[in-house]
Amino acid sequence: MKILVCISHVPDTTSKINFLDNNTKFDTAGVQFIIGPYDDYALARAIEIKEANAGTTVTVLNVGTADTEPTIRKALAIGADDAVRVNADPTDSYFVAAQIAEHAKSVNYDLILMGRESIDYNSGVVHSIVGEMLGVPSVSPVMKLELDGTKAKLSVEIEGGKESVEVNLPFVAGCQEPIAEWKIPNMRGIMSARTKPLKVVEPKNVDGGVKLQKFELPAPKGAVKMVSADHVSDLVNLLKNEAKVI
């Protein structure tokens, strides 16, 4: 069985976000980049499936510039067999999805996993677009994925609950917790990752019809107003008459 795991290369969740060049460029100074947390869940589940099913291979794919290679090597250290980097700046969801679909067309993956969304642009649409482009079903956000022959049983989160879903392979899944526990690479994994194949391919030329103009940071929050624990009704007054939210 062949599994493709698509990973994003994103700022660590604790990063302070700043922009440069008149709010047109992300400021990478002091920012640590990681595998997207949701993608990391997808990768962990793929490795579990590989460990339980002999002959399974896991390929990781990232659309990114050469800066993302340490992130890709980390995915290889966690247990993926090989990697593909599509050499391009991931400008928008359609562009990224088109690169994934282009690669996947030539391989016949049984399963294409990724996170429910990347934590930088939060679009949450790449898995759906990939499914549409390949003509296979896509499901998200998947919290549980069990294979049963040529089909899979999934648990999918919906607002206020969850659904049990059945779908035949191949399909695309956007993953989230608690599908698997994040895996931490061990020393042997880190050593072997150095020599695992990482193929660099040039992107397909596509235009999703969206163009980023600029970024903006939210207006800073004012100082917190403290209320004494002995006068809880003061808080109610403030919420009612000052903030006007109740």
Binding site: T13, N122, E159, G160, G161, L217, V227, V236, L239, K240
Partner: protein, 317 residues
Amino acid sequence: MAIVVFVEVAEGKVKKTSLEAVAYGQAMGGPVTAVALGSVDKAELENLGKYGAQKVLHVADDRLNQGIVQAYTAVLVKALEDEKADTLVLANSSLGTPVAAKVATRINASLVSNVVAVPDTSSGFVVKRSIYTGKAFSFVDMKNSKKVIAIRKNAVELKETGGTAAVTSYSVSLSDTDFAVKITASEKSTGEILLPEANIVVSGGRGMKGPENWGMLEALAKTLHAATGCSKPVSDMGWRPHHEHVGQTGVKVAPQLYIAVGISGAIQHLAGVNSSKVIVVINKDPEAPFFKAADYGIVGDAFEIVPKLTEAIKAAK
């Protein structure tokens, strides 16, 4: 430019976020045709006129009582074509977002999700969207003639303008492949206010000490017509279900009022709540980082403060 709005229904009612999607279409200049699928009260659909829908196409196919993304996509693509519409507007949700992505791919539309404001058309067609999990915004020009816009809660002010929409029944022939994803069971809390839809959210953290103490938060939530949420550790320990987990890797909320009880305010939790209009933090630790992100704070024992707060709100009503 005709606009189609996908209206989501739950338990026979139109979701509040879908009313906002209709209002968003109206704010763009309409005319708006709403499309609803599955069982829903007719009065609910007529009521969409109040928010700007001229007409409503209703697909009363029982198979669509379940939110099957592929089938919904097929219906909306056909509706856009029949209505000669070039724009689809819908609310971001577990169903809406994938439908937006699939429709956009099929009709070659510019697609933007997480949109927080009405487009600026003074130069191009520029929408503002939330990025970096609420820590920033971006402005994106949608260049294709066809557009699909998935909005976040509060992207537009909900105003009633009067009027009743004409409801027409509508059908689209669907194939087996549209039902390739089978929903075999559904577990859903009924009758409660859903977290992503709520105007007020009451959340509890580890400071609540155990699931048995959630009653007081539920009582406060009930008094405020609020939804209840929780922090990641609380959901990880199984005190509360995962769909109540608010934060970076859980639900991102944007209510008018967010009340955090016994939550220290890790940056990953703040990422899920930083779009809230007003934040109240109740914590016994005056050094809790959440106070820095709050509008109002009380330092003290949650077990004493929460019941007092519930009583004070009841008294003020």
